[in-house]
Symmetry: C2
Subunit: 230 residues, 2 copies
Amino acid sequence: MVQAVIVAAGSGTRMGPGVDKLFLPVAGRPLVAHTWQRFDRAGCIDVLVLVVREGMEPAFAELAKEYGFTKPYRLVAGGTQRQDSVWNGLLALEPECDVVAIQDGARACTPQEVIAATVQAARDFGAAVAAQRLTDTVKLSSDGAWIDGHLERSHLWAVQTPQTFRVEVIRQALAAVRARGLQVTDDTAACELTGQRVRLVESTASNPKVTTPADLSEVERLLQAMDRGD
Amino acid sequence: MVQAVIVAAGSGTRMGPGVDKLFLPVAGRPLVAHTWQRFDRAGCIDVLVLVVREGMEPAFAELAKEYGFTKPYRLVAGGTQRQDSVWNGLLALEPECDVVAIQDGARACTPQEVIAATVQAARDFGAAVAAQRLTDTVKLSSDGAWIDGHLERSHLWAVQTPQTFRVEVIRQALAAVRARGLQVTDDTAACELTGQRVRLVESTASNPKVTTPADLSEVERLLQAMDRGD
């Protein structure tokens, strides 16, 4: 069994005070409902877990009804940090789940074939992540004032989600993070602690995460194009 | 005297065969006319040099007339590589020019205050570049298949243009590149050869370069917003 954990518990302070970016309307529905739909429709996913802010459970249950999502789902409360929310999501997996795809709730445009490709790569290699080559010319600066060095662009990848794992691989990696009191910004970073190698799966299309207000119109454009092609 | 060199000689193969991206219509005029306008209106710039593909001089002269650009400009033919085009642009500077701002022709949204800030920083420090902090989580992969390592995001900057220099600084740096038969992808990289440190100037707003067709609609949106605020 393959499950998705959609992490939808962030406060998203960069959108302005009091704004829950996951419920901002984009292309005709709340942002997170698009994300949910991607996984509801993905043939490779059997059951969903949505990790939400405490008290938001009814709003999410309402979304499922309103948009007619058909796959079984479970709602669980998030933690303080992203890694705590992911941990809570992992605790809610079915016992027979062997592969889990962890997705940012605000990443609404992930193509079906990218989800499927990370699931396959996780089966084959233990850990996999959707990623895209950087198009920027990137420099290192330790102080934000002077350039310290140049990075070879062909070696740079922006990692996205899904970050997909054999369940025991990510449980072990996040347990190691927690045991050492560390914080990781993404789940593949946890794998470094256990020596688990992570396979890159190149995204076939734009797969942005909404972080600032400026991202919304770009995501709206992408979603409208996807809906036309869906 | 401060001059701008607008590099508008590329073939831009990523837009498709036979398409000159600089003349694609965006927000009511050819893309490169927006770039030109930024520098025509910038209070800190005295004279422009446009480096264009051989034979394109009449098309550029037509733009100046059609859009009523008021600053003196000179058109010069580009070279095979970007660095050759920049070199040709430097050869066309007025003798009294002491600071030069080098700009990608396809980077049409650069804010006036970013141009002015790079000019000031180049006066103060010799070399400066518009840049933005990366928002992506970035991993290193030497083979494009496996993650080799994580990069600390707070140390990563995407460099843009203008890349602005005291004239003798960039002449010396590019002469060193040419003498050694090297190729550099950006002008600040040339400064590494001569030990010239490069100052980062944080862009206050989006400053993208049009590379692929997908970039066009984003740039159109930005330009429309800028025109409303201009």
